[in-house]
């Protein structure tokens, strides 16, 4: 296939032309109704989805644009794993988006670049009083409201009803009836013996999920003021050893924390009795048809606890459209819109007045997760909200736990090491 110079030139020109055409054409948003409405404010909204919440947000945006015809909001969807990369390059490169959906892990890094919503939307106290107190440390930094809560998450236990029924084992039916970790393990063992279950429990491979156990044993990673590490105290050591014990006894499969196996996939095979995860799995597991599943109470060690988390919306400085962004955030945070968002996405609302949403699916499940949140010790949010310290050691904690499971280190040594890192990070942060 010999291309002579003329042919080549022609081909190149055609392609460059089509390029230019496609490049120009896409800058104008197509008007569906045909009227040429002048849009003079354009808001870029960086977004990530786990399930269908993107679609729900698109509908909400459409509603907002109808009422505010001069505003054009465009969702820029990225995968969650790429969110940090995307935002960092845009903010560092001087082209910040107007808004972004953001999780607790990123808020800390970007807090210096966020618009103070307290200033824009009527003051810190009035704004934050709308939302539950346990998540306040996440989005209020140095008395500045750096983001607005959209949904709140809680860790909890999802269990395979079919397997439990098959084994004839009951789960706690009310919060007065909660099982201890030992009782929970005993039940799991029974289910494993008397049913088709191969494993008792799968546990998400993240330090955030493991820390649920830490808090339930009465431990914490740092002291409330965040001035020193406490992870290597007795409670911490107990929590690590208990975690290891469950692996050694075959209740938790080694393939997740040691083999990179996906716990969701394992649970979906219907051969695992329970999954320690969180409320976000409700919408995901909705499509399971070959067995029945439900949500039940997490066990108590020294006390009950979950770990709060959530997703927020942040507006960025220097976007040129800070005021409009803040207004849109106010809209999203309002009771009506926030409830609609959470109800349709099957998330939990962070608003104090929206604890009881009319979910199409899983209403009792969300009530249970809300109960878990209400019985969470303060240390959980205090620890995880310290986003200048957490990134410095959380992956080491994860690695350390794996090492203990693989019998490469003792719980004490590992936790002492992590505690040193925590203290180092605290010292460096000053």
């Amino acid at each position: 296939m010999k291309l002579n110079s003329k042919g080549l030139l022609l081909l190149v020109c055609t392609l460059v032309l089509s390029l230019v055409v496609s490049g120009c054409g896409s800058n104008n948003k197509t008007q569906e109704n045909g009227t040429s409405t002048k849009k003079n404010v354009k808001l870029d909204f960086v977004w990530f989805s786990d399930g269908d919440e993107g679609k729900v947000m698109e509908n909400i945006i459409a509603d907002y644009e109808k009422e505010n015809t001069h505003v054009d909001i465009q969702l820029i969807e990225v995968a969650y794993n790429d969110l940090s990369t995307k935002l960092k390059t845009m903010v560092s490169g001087g082209k910040p988006p107007a808004l972004s959906r953001i999780s607790t892990s990123e808020i800390g890094s970007f807090s210096n670049f966020a618009v103070d919503l307290g200033e824009q939307l009527g003051g810190v106290e009035p704004f934050t009083s709308q939302f539950i107190d346990s998540i306040k440390p996440y989005y209020v930094i140095d008395n500045k409201v750096v983001a607005s809560p959209m949904d709140v998450t809680a860790n909890g236990i999802i269990y395979n009803k079919t397997l439990f029924d098959q084994a004839g084992v009951a789960v706690p039916t009310s919060s007065d009836d909660i099982w201890t970790w030992d009782e929970f393990n005993a039940s799991l063992k029974e289910v494993m013996e008397k049913s088709d279950a191969k494993y008792g429990l799968v546990w998400d491979y993240t330090p955030h999920r493991w820390s649920t156990l830490l808090y339930q044993f009465g431990g914490s990673m740092m002291n409330p003021e965040g001035t020193e590490g406490t992870i290597n105290n007795e409670a911490g050591i107990e929590a690590v050893n208990y975690f290891k014990k469950m692996h050694d006894e075959g209740i938790i499969p080694r393939s997740v924390w040691l083999g990179g196996e996906n716990p969701n996939n394992l649970f979906r095979t219907g051969t695992v009795a329970a999954h320690l995860s969180g409320n976000w799995m409700v919408s995901s597991y909705k499509d399971i048809t070959d067995f029945e599943w439900g949500v039940t109470y997490m066990p108590i060690a020294k006390n009950r606890s979950s770990v709060p988390g959530g997703k927020f919306v942040m507006a960025f400085q220097d976007s040129g459209v800070e005021e409009e962004s803040a207004n849109f955030i106010a809209y999203l945070s309002s009771k009506e819109v926030n409830s609609k968002y959470n109800q349709e996405s099957l998330f939990m609302s962070p608003r104090k007045d929206s604890a009881d949403l009319d979910y199409e699916f899983g209403k009792e499940m969300f009530a249970l997760f809300a109960d878990e949140l209400n019985n969470t010790i303060p240390a959980a949010a205090e620890d995880w909200s310290k986003q200048t310290i957490i990134p410095k050691f959380s992956s080491d904690l994860k690695d350390g736990l794996v090492e203990v499971l693989a019998e490469g280190a003792t719980a004490e040594d590992m936790l002492n090491d992590i505690n040193d890192r925590i203290n180092e990070a605290i010292a460096n942060a000053k």
């Binding site: 903010v91 970007f110 990179g260």
Partner: protein, 301 residues
């Protein structure tokens, strides 16, 4: 087109000589220009970051050689580098041998050559996350090897939770997914060898094996250097495939240097440290590469 001979026009000689002297620079220019603007400049900026504490957002803080000092006292960095080296030493010869073998098969007169070549090339087109999923389907807890073992009433083996088997699985997946690429390079290289040489050898009574070692291999030197150098650099940078298949586990057994840089640097918001580590890695690989290049004289015959 000159009608006089060139020898009778001394000015023409120097003019031509000068033309030939600037010609290579002009030919290299477009590539060099793009490369400088989009790679060299950012890299230099990256090197600057390596002397600072930088989280990618807030202003950098100059810390001199602190990042480098950190690296030199970091045991895990060097042990991970060692693991990467071990991996490279195994994978590079494997890929070389397998891709050359398959290429030789596919330059013969076989029917449906294109079809067969496509089969070997196909894995290179598959994204790493799907490659990881695929091999997890074979080796994983829920995979077919275990399904077969269960069917025969044997105990399941969690391959990927076992450090040795995890490493083997990763090597198999890597060879499977990259062979097609190097096979194509070898096919092009093999086809550049004039058939006349083989004809002459056959007439001289040389066996096929002799022809391979005395004609094919020597004439394949440039391609061999290409394949070995590229596959070695790839092996040192191996990350997405391992991450998709084992997550770097169990217990860091399949975590190689780029994943380490990523986790230590990026996950901990330390872009400066990550840059410094990349500089160190860069220097080490460059030494290997330059050595290889000089030892083989650039693959020239």
């Amino acid at each position: 087109m000159s009608t006089k001979s060139i020898a009778s026009q001394p000015n023409l000689i120097t003019k031509k000589k000068r033309k030939i002297q600037i010609a290579p620079y002009l030919f290299v220019l477009p590539n060099l220009l793009i490369f400088t603007v989009f790679i060299v400049v950012p890299t230099l900026l990256g090197v600057i970051y390596s002397f600072h504490y930088y989280d990618g957002l807030n202003p950098m803080k100059y810390i001199g050689f602190d990042n480098y000092a950190n690296i030199f006292t970091d045991d895990k960095f060097w042990s991970t580098l060692g693991k990467t080296l071990t991996y490279a030493i195994i994978v590079v010869p494997l890929i070389y041998a397998c891709s050359l073998g398959v290429a030789i098969l596919l330059v013969q007169q076989v029917i449906m050559k294109g079809f067969f070549r496509a089969i070997f090339y196909w894995p290179t087109m598959i994204s790493f996350i799907i490659v990881g999923l695929t091999w997890r389907w074979i080796f994983g807890e829920l995979g077919i090897i275990n399904a077969v073992m269960v069917a025969f009433d044997n105990e399941q083996i969690t391959f990927l939770a076992n450090p040795f088997f995890a490493k083997v699985a990763v090597i198999i997946a890597a060879v499977w997914s990259r062979l097609g690429f190097f096979m194509v390079l070898f096919v092009a290289g093999l086809l550049a060898i004039p058939r006349d040489f083989y004809e002459a050898a056959h007439l001289d009574g040389a066996s096929k094996v002799k022809a391979f070692f005395h004609i094919t291999l020597p004439l394949l030197k440039p391609t061999t250097l290409l394949v070995v150098m590229l596959s070695m650099i790839e092996a040192f940078k191996a990350y997405p495939l391992m991450f998709a298949l084992t997550g770097g586990g169990p217990n860091k057994a399949t975590t190689y240097i780029v994943q380490y840089i990523y986790e230590t640097g990026f996950a901990k918001q330390e872009l400066g440290l990550a840059s410094a580590m990349s500089v160190v890695l860069f220097i080490i690989i460059t030494i290997f590469t330059v050595l290889q290049f000089k030892l083989t004289k650039g693959g020239e015959n």
